[in-house]
């Protein structure tokens, strides 16, 4: 054995000293007088200084995005152009987000409820509301799977404890409910579905017998090829339900409870599922509503912010404990324990315990990434930026075996295929099977209603008639290069490259 390493069994000095998890001593790094109570990324904070540290992080993440233009840094000048929608899942992050947003941005309402007068008087600029109206929105997913508990009543109790916030409950099956779609301004036309057994995702008319939204939701979920796809699809449905709700409630901001740890998890998970082109949208996005307000020249935009993006999971847990907040909790088993999301979560949470700064390095590094090319519209399913030529690229890089009797589809018209309208991640979600999953026996599966509108822009004048970046079914086919895939024998391949062969 080498002398430099020593023998741990006989020489106790050879063992490396355990490093403390904090940098200097046990005194709070902020007040420098109190003994610390919590270690956050190697820094020690006492119970008195911890809340202000979290509040500063939230304000730093959100304040620059509140005003329509970001050149007004001061709190007293903050004024949003619309209302506020807070996404509330009942989980740890959104519980903390709801509490912090109400304390920071609706303090006058809280004081009023407590019978206190606002500091500086009612008309002081500091006491003016940043948003006129705040709404907390919850999407209940219990109907997606049999046997799941409906938590809407519990969630309502939590939201109603913030009495100046309104509560809007939604259900996951609303994504397939024509009544809901009409309510948010959509125009449901004929029902269309796709064939998930074909990579082209051919579109066909759906039988109207299956008109129950819950049945449609379950058909959609059961058709997905992997547990990872199920988790990813549900996240997308929730996100789009929230965005459409934000639009009808005239909200300028949609706030999510994603914290630093869960942001790093979703970044890594999204990239590993092929969502690299839209990696920026995982941390911040601006969604064009397609509606133009009176006097405005451009359609209104909803900003999707994550005010806890600098606050770790540990800080959230400490906040909840010290403020005695109630966490309803949410089901984490949707993607299975072996899904990409669950495996990434286990990895990142373990990493955070041993190397807490590395988790923030993931988020900071991803925030610097930008796609090489501009987006070519938006994906019909997730409505995130769409990269041009994805299907051609995928066909070029894929190695696949084609049976003799299975000629690749020629001249697949864009009129019948959904694939050209999907981003790489969504196409992979719908088509990438694991080695164990078998093709489904049912032929056609329903789609969320916003996909119909995306494919038929003329039908939804209310939504799409204001210059939104939608594509008609034929326009994309006309603009694209014509590619044809066919099987070529060895002689054919040889003759194609014969000019370049050395004799």
């Amino acid at each position: 054995m080498s002398e430099s390493c020593g023998n741990p069994s006989s020489q106790t000095d050879a063992l490396m000293d355990r490093r403390p998890k904090f940098d200097r001593n046990k005194l709070c790094i902020k007040c420098k007088t109190n003994t610390g109570n919590v270690v956050i990324r190697h820094a020690v904070y006492c119970k008195e200084c911890f809340p202000s540290m979290v509040v500063v992080k939230v304000k730093r993440s959100l304040d620059p995005y509140i005003n329509a233009t970001s050149d007004v840094p001061r709190r007293k000048a903050l004024r949003a152009s619309g209302n506020l929608l807070i996404a509330f899942s009942g989980g740890l992050g959104s519980t903390v987000a709801l509490d912090l947003i109400s304390k920071i941005y609706f303090p006058d309402a809280q004081n009023k409820l407590n019978g206190e007068h606002p500091r500086g008087g009612k008309s002081h600029p500091r006491n003016k509301r940043v948003w006129d109206k705040g709404t907390a929105c919850y999407v209940e997913i219990c109907n997606a799977f049999p046997g799941m508990e409906d938590k809407t009543a519990e969630i309502r109790d939590v939201v109603e404890s913030y009495r100046y916030l309104e509560f809007t409950p939604l259900r996951l099956e609303d994504a397939f409910d024509k009544q809901w779609w009409k309510k948010v301004g959509g125009n449901p036309g004929r029902d269309i579905g796709i064939d998930l057994n074909n990579e082209e995702l051919l579109i066909s008319e759906l039988s109207s017998e299956d008109s129950n939204p819950v049945q449609r939701l379950r058909s959609y979920i059961s058709a997905l090829p992997t547990l990872t796809a199920v988790h990813s699809a549900i996240q997308n449905l929730i996100r789009l339900l929230l965005l459409h709700t934000a639009r009808v409630s005239e909200s300028s901001h949609l706030l999510l409870g994603t914290n630093l740890t869960s942001l790093s998890i979703s970044l890594i998970s999204s990239i590993s599922q092929g969502g690299g082109f839209a990696v920026k949208e995982e941390s911040f996005e601006e969604w064009s509503t397609g509606w133009t307000k009176d006097g405005a020249s451009t359609p209104a935009v909803i900003r999707v912010n994550r005010p806890l993006q600098d606050v770790t999971l540990k800080e959230c847990a400490v906040w909840v404990w010290w403020n005695n907040l109630r966490v309803v909790g949410r089901d984490r088993s949707l993607g299975g324990r072996q899904g990409i999301g669950a495996l990434t979560r286990d990895f990142i949470v373990g990493l955070e315990r041993d190397y807490p700064s590395t988790v923030s390095a993931i988020a900071r590094t991803c925030s610097k990434l930008a796609p090489k090319f501009l987006a070519d519209g938006t994906c019909a399913l997730c409505q995130r930026p769409l990269q041009r030529g994805i299907q051609e690229w995928k066909a070029r890089i894929s190695i696949r075996t084609i049976a003799d009797d299975q000629e690749p589809s020629r001249n697949t018209s864009a009129e019948t295929s959904l694939a050209p309208y999907l981003c790489y991640a969504c196409h992979t979600t719908l088509t990438s099977r694991s080695s164990r999953s078998a093709p489904t026996s049912t032929s056609t599966f329903p789609l969320p209603l916003w996909v119909h509108s995306h494919l038929r822009p003329g039908c939804d004048a209310q939504i799409d008639g204001n210059g939104r970046d939608e594509v008609g079914m034929n326009s994309l086919a006309n603009d694209s290069e014509a590619w044809e895939r066919r099987k070529v024998d060895r002689e054919g391949m040889k003759s194609a490259i014969s000019d370049f062969l050395l004799e």
């Binding site: 403390p20 998890k21 904090f22 046990k26 003994t35 610390g36 109570n37 919590v38 270690v39 020690v44 119970k47 899942s89 009942g90 989980g91 740890l92 992050g93 409870g257 914290n259 740890t261 869960s262 999971l313 540990k314 959230c316 847990a317 400490v318 909840v320 404990w321 966490v327 309803v328 909790g329 949410r330 984490r332 979560r345 286990d346 949470v349 373990g350 955070e352 315990r353």
Partner: protein, 116 residues
Amino acid sequence: MTFISLRIEFSGGLELLFSNEKRHKITIPAQVPVDNNPKVDGPRNGDTKAADMDFLIHWLREHLLKERTELFMENSTVRPGILVLINDTDWELEGEGEYQLKDNDEIVFISTLHGG
């Protein structure tokens, strides 16, 4: 043999693994085996040490945990994602598993993984 009394609290969904009871009052020996074996009752033979957090975690697994050990423990300590507070202070400031327990200490285990 002397004993020490402890107040234990589980939160963030962790209580579901412990008979759905949030608060527990327990008594453990002041001197425990160095290998953290919680099964030995009565006079101890062999090397002993003062009861510490490492032993407490093993004791809780043996005596209070009702199901799914893997959601509470991993590699002889608590699973990543579980925050431990000793008398309202992060256990990372107190030496984690090496913290020597005192009579009437309050130990809180908070799961951050129940919903986020």
